[in-house]
Subunit: 384 residues, 2 copies
């Protein structure tokens, strides 16, 4: 048995899984995917596809029986199942222990705090009274969050004023779901730093990306972020520290805020390759997906060097369009210098669904931005 | 129907097909492959795999019925079958007409000569007497070639002296196979230039690669080749001219000789992505495989700019080892700066079989060469 003969199992067959597989296949790995959707993005490029629910215990065990190492493309998985596999000697990366802490945003933040990582003020809230109390302590606006299960702004509520507390509490389950409150950070930029850590502790940190959101969904990532050398250094050091605090193995994304005082605060950590790291496929010597595969199969990590300024723009399903997806404008977009097109192969589109992305490399950030905006304006994702 | 919804059919499921599919899948294309080997490199990453012989007429028609455009990864296909498909309105790229001329090395050379492209002296030989005559006209050493079917030195014989003519004639079929003779070119370097041409005639030419062979099989390609600007320009212009002469659509590889007088002569043309173009995956803005897919689906071609000096080294099966392949040394190879590993996923190895390749990028050719040699020395492809 050698490293390249390791069989990889991935829980989740979406675009992140797909981009992992495209790298894994380049190196000849055997990959099995678990995903309930027959025509998911991974379906046609994996060796085996187990069509079952993500929390189907039998299916997870079947995946494990076909794999030497298990990984996942999203963090909303029952860590207890993964712990059982680990107890039976199966390799799971990131580990069930890392996942358990990170998937609960309260324990995530507590661990960051204990690790000496600046992450802003937060408090667990068990009742609506606790939220009022948090408002008094932190002031308004206040962020209310579900501790688990949120993504792309879902599971978050911005409370602008004391009188909105109750509505926010109700909108996030009214006590049925565990919540936490966070002090609002008046940031000047949202950045993310991807980092990869091997089984041995070897860590590689990617350049800093400047993330621009629209309606709480990532719209684009610009790399390198327009921040000082000092702030860049601080952010990259924080990311490396986060990897150690969580004992991470594989790719992690550390989302951070930069404040007007050039403080850098960790906002959230994702224990997986991340949308804001898609730029690395064309932008870096070794992409987040290849390094993830290298890390979980215990191969040496590759260089995260930025080759050229790079801009990534997400392609979302158009508003008001649902059904079998049609991608329009590829010809016009690809006519523009430095444009690469990634289409995930989801059969159906719906409003704001992540259907693909554009990456543009150029000699300067401003050119890359200009070309990215031009290309983005050409593409429409509609339905039949 | 839009460009990205085109379904692609590929004849041949080897490593070239695999690397085409990895690019096609990134853009969301649907791909069907025709290959007789169930566990061929393309098997696990294509949408459909028709397991049948390359010349199985029914299978080719089935492939066509599932595809909007047909391409191929090797040139030894019956062009008549492809002509039939074209006559029925199916798109085949490169066209059956291009393939017909190119797959016969005599008509290939005649077409080059008619197109005003320097390609060295050659003559068709119908008998052993014709070969003696060629020896008198061109002198010795003389190259004897089968007109069709050769690759990696197979189908070629170097005749050092008049007394070896008969043996060479016998070794290449003794009259059963059509032959041609070529004047030996005393070259100082074998180079190749990849070029891609779209349906509209748009052409992109790649940087010049310096090819080093061992036992007539490509060992490594070094890019950029260490030749003068003038010779580089000449070679790139020749490649573009070749694309027009053959009315090429898709990726072509133009192999050339550079003589001690800095003449550039075309040796052979391959109507497909080529081993000597593998460096473009990491070395260029857009790889030969992505541009091939763009060309045959009528999308705009991408930049062929060299990002950094790049060296590609082939990984062949070890001598004396046949059977289920084992790849050793990946860990040590990937520890070296700038190394990327491509393993084709062929189940079985045999001596000199192309099993994978290494690509190394670096700030200078000399560093890339040093790291490539180091990485190459680590990897062994043996059998169970």
């Amino acid at each position: 048995m050698n490293d390249l003969s390791a069989k990889i199992g991935i829980i989740g067959g979406g675009q992140l899984g797909k981009m992992m597989i495209l790298e894994a296949k380049k190196m000849g790995f055997y990959v099995t995917v678990l995903d309930p959707t027959k025509e998911c993005p991974c379906h046609s490029i994996c060796d085996e596809h187990i069509i079952a629910d993500f929390n189907d215990r039998e299916a997870i065990r079947l995946l494990a029986s076909k794999s030497d190492v298990i990984t996942y493309e999203f963090e909303h998985i029952d860590y207890k199942e993964l712990t059982l596999l680990e107890n039976e000697g199966k390799k799971v990366y990131p580990t069930a222990g890392s996942l358990k802490i990170i998937q609960n945003k309260l324990t995530q933040k507590m661990t960051l705090r204990e690790g000496g990582i600046p992450a802003g003020d937060f408090i667990q809230t068990e009742s609506v009274e606790d939220i009022y109390k948090a408002g008094e302590d932190f002031g308004y606006p206040l962020i209310l969050k579900t501790r688990t299960g949120g993504y792309d702004g879902k599971g978050n509520a911005l409370i602008k004023d004391k009188k909105d507390v109750y509505d926010a509490f109700i909108s996030l389950g009214g006590g049925k779901i565990q919540l936490m409150a966070e002090k609002f950070v008046n940031f000047t930029m949202e950045i993310s730093v991807l980092a990869c850590r091997g089984v041995s502790g070897e860590t590689k940190v990617y350049p800093v990306g400047d993330n621009r959101h629209i309606d709480n969904i990532l719209h684009k990532t610009v790399v390198p972020a327009d921040i000082s050398e000092e702030t860049t250094k601080k952010a990259m050091e924080l990311a490396e520290k986060v990897m150690n605090v969580f004992d991470g193995v594989g790719m992690f994304c550390v989302e951070m805020f930069v404040t007007d005082k050039n403080e850098v605060l960790v906002n959230e950590v994702a224990p997986r390759p991340h949308n804001s790291g898609h730029y690395s496929i064309e932008g870096c010597a070794v992409s987040q997906f290849e390094n993830h595969i290298r890390a979980i199969t215990n191969l040496p990590l590759g260089s995260t060097e930025l080759l050229r300024p790079t801009v990534m723009v997400n392609l979302l399903g158009e508003e008001g369009k649902s059904g079998k997806a049609i991608i329009e404008g590829a010809f016009d977009a690809l006519k523009i210098d430095g444009v690469k097109l990634h289409i995930y192969g989801k059969k159906n589109t719906s409003p704001k669904r992540k259907m693909g992305h554009i990456t543009v490399t150029a000699e300067s950030v401003s050119t890359a931005l200009k070309h990215a905006e031009e290309a983005f304006s050409k593409i429409k994702i509609t339905a039949e």
